[in-house]
């Protein structure tokens, strides 16, 4: 296990945002965090990403209890987070975005040639075919943007990749593309935390499933222990099943 939480909890004033949640992320595995809105998914990943600090339970990184004090702290331990909204600068080219904040240097200058080449190579290694790394990120589709962000995190030495609802704003095909990159990152030996509220996105790539509801854990399941139908039922309850069945048919 790279990251493990044991009975972790977080309160904001009088609000119990998260209670007694235990989960783990292993290298080369995908841990899916599922839950409806307000289930505590965001709070959990913000603790893992160093944005919030937990106030009960234990957070272990490489088996050692830690308290992540900032996103930088998390990053330094190899925990990278890709948020769905604020990832990229639309008017800047792919390679400029790729190295933003960690530009390679050549003397005083920004080593533009290296940046272009490495960005292209890294994207290709992830199986992402961006036709032209000079094109502005704003011209990429949502899925491509997520993919670039994932490739970027991998390149900068992430061991754990936290993906905050990477597929939620995407169409069916696009979501499939992102899921493929998640699998690719897993195959490269990264631990992936995949947050989603869509069990049909989670089940194909997930190895472990953590279900959250109203701030508490409804259990962590291995892939063998649970079917997509059971996942859906646990998450949504019977009322919404029909609607989800429709969504399934379209896929």
């Amino acid at each position: 296990m790279i990251i493990e939480t044991r009975g972790i909890g977080k309160t904001f004033g009088s609000v119990l945002a998260l209670r007694e949640v235990s989960m783990g992320v292993a290298a080369g595995q995908v841990t899916c965090v599922l839950g409806d809105n307000g289930a505590g998914k965001s709070t959990l990943i913000k603790i893992l990403a160093g944005v919030h600090q937990h106030d009960s339970g234990t957070l272990l990184v490489d088996g050692e209890p830690v308290r992540l004090t900032s996103p930088r702290d998390a990053l330094d331990r190899g925990i990278a987070t890709v948020y769905q909204d604020l990832a990229m600068i639309p008017l800047m080219s792919v390679w400029r975005n790729f190295f933003l904040g960690s530009e390679p240097r050549k003397g005083l200058a920004f080593d533009v040639a290296t940046a272009r080449r490495v960005a292209r190579e890294e994207l290709r290694a992830m199986g992402i075919d961006i036709r032209d790394v000079d094109q502005p990120v704003g011209t990429l589709s949502g899925g491509e943007r997520q993919s670039v962000a994932i490739a970027r995190a991998v390149h900068f030495g992430a061991r754990v990749l936290i993906l905050d609802e990477p597929t939620s704003a995407l169409g069916v095909k696009q979501a499939g593309v992102v899921l493929r990159y998640i699998a690719r990152a897993r195959d490269r030996g990264l631990g992936v935390v995949f947050i989603t509220h869509n069990p049909h996105h989670a089940h194909p790539v997930g190895d472990r499933f953590l279900l959250l509801n109203r701030g508490t854990s409804m259990g962590e399941y291995g892939k063998a222990d649970i079917t997509p139908q059971e996942l859906t039922a646990l998450m949504a309850g019977g009322a919404e099943l029909e609607e989800l069945a429709h969504e399934l048919e379209r896929q």
Binding site: I89, F99, F110, L170
Partner: protein, 348 residues
């Protein structure tokens, strides 16, 4: 939504981007085309305009304006405005002439004081904007008014008039004048040294923007500040540095003009701040930040210089200058808008 992203083979729906189209997506394209057209317009009608002396004549106002436009362009790419830049050229000029003529300072020392004051003003602008998150339009409008008041108030208090003069007699004038306000000869035509400074400023700014880490940060803070911050770009520091760069340019231009005319009017520079912004916009900068070019702003300044002098050569009333600039601004903004849409389509 329906297109397949990142299939392992090239997407058959994407055509090859030709070199002509690549050229078209450059932000400075509109300015270059505009400059060629304006040059042709005046050159056809006026032999003086296209003569070497004529070129030297219209490059002169283009140079001082261009230095400011380039700095303002960097700031605008970084997503901010500086309305105090014009009047700051007056402030630095007044400091230089007042200290050198009324307090016996050496010209170089007086310039150094002016530089320190300018950088302090730029730093203050940047600090207030980044700390309070107020729009820079408002913050620097406040600075603009305060400096305008100080320029007039202090000048009147010291000299009893609204100008200070007599810099020629000050110690160190000859040297400083040669460096910042002198002339150089090319093929028997004398050009202003300001033109060289302008080229240096534009070249350095272009290098910084396209080939340095700082340039990447400038585009990023102007394009999407929260995202830039999230990946570790020091957004506040970048913006403060940009305000200080603009202030530095104002000092350079203010000192040049003071040395050239050896006297400074207390109301100099007022109204210029919009001309700088217009030149930057003609040069391809977006008002919303995150896009633009330093070369473009320098070329935008050339258009200004050509129109200002060209109208005189044609014997028109100088009032037409304003009309012309207004028309240029609207056309340039429209062209930028189209070019940017085109640029984004290249990637689709």
């Amino acid at each position: 939504m329906m297109r397949s992203a990142g299939a392992a083979t090239a997407d058959e729906r994407v055509g090859r981007v030709g070199p002509a189209r690549r050229l078209l997506i450059r932000p400075e394209l509109g300015a270059v085309v505009g400059a060629v057209l304006v040059f042709a317009f005046f050159a056809v009608q006026s032999p003086v305009f296209r003569s070497a002396d004529g070129v030297a004549n219209w490059l002169d106002p283009a140079a001082t304006l261009g230095i400011m436009a380039v700095a303002v362009a960097l700031l605008m790419i970084g997503g901010e405005f500086d309305l105090s830049a014009g009047v700051l050229t007056g402030t630095t000029g007044l400091i230089l002439v007042t200290l050198a003529t009324r307090f016996g300072f050496n010209v170089w020392l007086a310039m150094l004081v002016g530089l320190v004051v300018a950088l302090a003003v730029g730093f203050a602008n940047g600090l207030v904007v980044t700390r309070t998150k107020l729009p820079s339009f408002i913050v620097t409008l406040g600075t603009f008014l305060m400096l305008q008041g100080i320029n007039l108030g202090v000048t009147k208090a010291i000299t009893g008039t609204v100008q200070v003069s007599g810099l020629r007699r000050a110690e160190g004038f000859e040297g400083a004048n040669a460096v910042l306000a002198g002339t150089f000869q090319v093929g028997g035509t004398s050009f202003r040294v300001a033109i060289l400074w302008w080229i240096v400023v534009a070249a350095v700014a272009t290098w910084v923007l396209t080939r340095s880490k700082a340039g990447n940060w400038i585009f990023a803070v102007g394009g999407n500040e929260p995202a830039a911050r999230a990946v570790g770009v020091p957004a506040a520091r970048t913006k403060i540095a940009l305000f200080m760069t603009t202030a530095f340019a104002a000092w350079l231009v203010g000192s040049m003009l003071a040395l050239r005319y050896t006297s400074v009017q207390a109301n100099i520079g007022i109204g210029q701040e919009f001309i700088y912004i217009i030149a930057a916009v003609i040069g391809g900068c977006l008002l919303t930040g995150g896009y633009g070019s330093a070369i473009g702003a320098a070329v935008g300044a050339v258009i200004f210089g050509m129109v200002e002098k060209g109208i005189v050569y044609l014997g028109w009333d100088a009032d037409w200058f304003k009309f012309f600039m207004g028309a240029m601004l609207v056309l340039a903004t429209l062209a930028n808008h189209l070019v940017r849409r085109y640029a984004e389509e290249v990637g689709r």
